[in-house]
């Protein structure tokens, strides 16, 4: 695509000259004036036959950078959007500047040659606090299996779980105990007096059950399975 000078006037860059936006940005700006001002961009237009305005280009770049797993290069952006790379670079720079001036919770930065949206460093403490506050990790398959055996066979001992699952389950049991999904329920009066395990109230809570009788049984499952045969 080539820059077509004839079309320049019509495609002026709205966003850059948006006085309100600048005012808002200034209000919030941390005094980061040097990060670049719009002056150099004056008069630039989207080249080629595409009628996308600068504002539109910035928006679609924002959406793409947001969904991209990897930092998104101007080259890729240009290819996906069918825009000229130089133009895409201008728009991405401008978008990053807008992020910066907005001084919100997010920033757009260039990393490993591509663009990326990330949280602003100032808020990392709160971000960490939030991440820590989240309930503990998902159950692994081993833990889920062990939990299923305990739920349906309780009270049950470790050797019995081993017998049913055919694999050692001790680390899964430890995880489940830590998550308070299972609790010790006394000892079985056999040789070695192994500990008996059953599900906890936390288990009922997490699975939305009033009591254990609400666990679906094989018949419930077969009722449903019957329909698909």
């Amino acid at each position: 695509m080539e820059v077509d000078a004839a079309e320049e006037t019509e495609r002026d860059v709205v966003v850059i000259h948006d006085a309100d936006a600048e005012d808002r940005a200034e209000e919030r700006s941390v005094g980061d004036e040097s990060a670049g001002d719009g002056a150099g961009l004056d008069g630039e237009v989207a080249p080629g036959g595409d009628a996308r305005s600068m504002a539109e280009l910035m928006s679609v770049i924002e959406a793409l950078v947001f969904v991209s797993e990897e930092p998104l290069t101007a080259k890729t952006l240009a290819e996906v959007l069918g825009e000229e790379r130089g133009w895409v670079e201008v728009a991405a720079q401008e978008l990053a500047k807008e992020f910066n001036e907005r001084n919100g919770g997010l920033m757009m930065r260039e990393v490993a040659g591509g663009w990326q949206i990330a949280t602003r460093v100032e808020y990392h403490e709160q971000v960490r606090a939030y991440l820590k506050s989240r309930p503990s990790a998902k159950l692994s398959l081993a833990a889920l299996e062990t939990l299923a055996v305990i739920a349906y066979k309780q009270p049950v001992t470790v050797p019995e779980i081993l017998e049913i699952r055919g694999v050692q389950s001790s680390s899964a049991i430890k995880t489940l105990l830590e998550k308070r999904l299972i609790v010790a329920k006394g000892r079985k009066e056999v040789v070695g007096r192994p500990m008996l395990y059953g599900t906890s109230k936390e288990f009922l809570l997490q699975f939305g059950l009033r009591d254990l009788s609400e666990l679906p049984n094989i018949e419930d499952f077969e009722d449903l399975a019957g329909g698909s045969s």
Binding site: E69, K138, V149, Y152
Partner: protein, 291 residues
Amino acid sequence: MPDSPSDAAAGASADAEVDAPVQPSAGDAAPAKQNDAPVMLNVAGAAPEIVMESGESGEEMNLHLGEFAGPLDLLLYLIRQEQVDIYDIPIARITEVYLSHVRAMRELDVSAASEFLVMAAQLIEIKSRMLLPPDPTAAGEEDQEDPRRELVDRLLEHQKFKAAASMLWSRATVEQAVFGRAPIETDKSNPEVAVGVFDLLRVFQEILARKKEEVMMEIERDEVTMTEMLERLRNMIMSAGELNLRHFFERAGNRRELVLAFLSVLELVRTTEVRLFQRETFGEIVLRVVS
């Protein structure tokens, strides 16, 4: 919209055994014969629910039963198609069209769900009740209830949920145009137990199934003896006259059985009951009975 008609179709076939009894007889046309090729369905301006597919000859038609999410759905479609008032359904006419559709489905080898036949029976029953003179003993009471009343109520109710379903459909469509951010590092330490009670049950059943399999294998391992293996080999080879050795070995469930299988082949060769052949170098080895 329906990408996979399998749901309803599957639901239908589940009850296929029950499917026999209701043979519509009262007041409908002679049942079409079984192999009467193209079944003509009166579906001009086909509803989105009906898919017509032309085969090689251009004569084949296919009615996807699954697209009618049930007898109420079919009835609603027919009512619309026949342009009749849902509050005053000409029951004889609708029954007729309904029955011909259900017949068509069955001929097209779509195992019509029992529900479609139950509805057929209900329609016929309503039709016959409408033919009865008003009950004189009930006179003086408030107007006798229209035999169609219950059906109409169900149809109206069903229609509401159909509308709700299409509302959900458009919502889902819009929602598919919205994207969340890409996964980031911190997602790995992810929140909450993302499983429901049915996952517990499913997992438990999988464990039981796995265990059963293991037990069966163990039993086999314990029980197969050299004598039995020899017996197995003899049976296999005697019935066919010859046996591809690879096929025989593949039947071995574990290493021990494989060894036994090998030994029994050697045993039979030794006792000269069979001979080994190879049709080409590096080709398959075949056991053949010595005649």
